[in-house]
């Protein structure tokens, strides 16, 4: 179970990126997870939701796209002013 660490890395990157867009609220985080990445999407979502609770990212949702190899990529952020 290392999805908690992965979720922390996702949040770190999202925060760094969001800092470039002052005043914007992150609503969606796009991820690509390969079936050989060793990361479970449901478990990652659970950890992400636990970590963003009562933070500025609370309303952000993870949009996870399946992939065929060992991908573990952040693909996009959606933000609202």
């Amino acid at each position: 179970m290392h999805e908690m660490g992965i979720a922390s890395s996702v949040i770190e990157t999202v925060r760094a990126e969001a800092a470039q867009h002052p005043g914007a609220r992150v609503t969606k985080v796009g991820l690509r997870i390969g079936e050989l990445s060793g990361v479970d999407a449901a478990s990652l979502t659970f950890c992400f939701e636990a970590l963003v609770k009562e933070t500025e990212l609370e309303s952000a949702i993870l949009a996870i796209e399946d992939a065929g190899c060992d991908e573990l990529d952040l693909t996009y952020l959606e933000m609202e002013e």
Binding site: T13, T27, D70, D73, L74, E81
Partner: protein
């Protein structure tokens, strides 16, 4: 709504540190290997047998990871080579930063071969690049032949599979051909070496692989 494309690896910070380690190893011609298996498949015993066969003065060092205890470091230190325990304090895998810290104070110019024994776990260590030249997965005949199918990530990424405990084959229903077939489905052409760390069978083939791999 604004969509900002990112296209970066989630573990980019770990990958950045791992790339730095890989460069340090490459500059010195160090062969760094990352050993991954489930708990109890015999990683530490394999390293004990490997260290035990080296002549004194062999330029080898070991970092060994566990969640708790320094039992493995104590076992491995008996052979007279530098050994350090990395206690992850709960984490189920080693990451590149732990390796960077683990190497602190060691003169890498004095090392040709670095063994990194990961935490016993077939899933989590797979995601974390440690700057190694190759991952080595250890499977033992007391496990299921279909482990490669159940944990495809590590069997896909490993360059070599060591099939350990073959001395137990007469007592367990393990079918080597089936295990090879499962490994091949996930990683066609992966090298497989059969060994017994108890009897020493196959260890010469493993040592040959190490020597060969050091040169490349």
């Amino acid at each position: 709504m604004e969509r900002v494309p990112l296209e970066r690896k989630v573990l980019s910070e770990n990958d950045r540190i791992a790339a730095g380690l890989r460069e340090r190893f490459a500059e010195r011609g160090i062969l760094a290997l990352n050993f991954i298996s489930s708990p109890g498949s015999g990683k530490t015993m394999l390293l004990e047998r490997t260290l035990g066969a080296f002549p004194a003065g062999k330029r080898v060092a070991v970092l060994t990871g566990d969640i708790q205890t320094d039992n493995d470091a104590q076992r491995l230190a008996k052979y007279g080579f530098p050994v350090r325990q990395i206690s992850t304090g709960g984490a189920c895998h080693l990451d590149a930063r732990m390796i960077e810290r683990g190497l602190e104070g060691w003169d890498l110019d004095q090392i040709d071969l670095l063994f990194i024994e990961n935490v016993g776990n077939l899933v989590c260590p797979t995601s974390y690049d440690l700057g190694e030249r190759a991952k080595v997965v250890v499977l033992s005949v007391t496990e299921g032949e279909d482990k490669p199918l159940k944990y495809p990530g590590i069997f896909h990424k490993a360059e070599l599979m060591i099939l350990n405990k073959i001395d137990l084959l007469p007592y367990v229903p393990f079918k080597i051909e089936l295990a090879r077939e499962c490994a091949n489905r996930v990683h066609p052409g992966m090298e497989i070496i059969e060994v017994s760390c108890t009897t020493g069978a196959g260890l010469d083939v493993w040592q040959g692989w190490l020597e060969h791999r050091r040169g490349h």
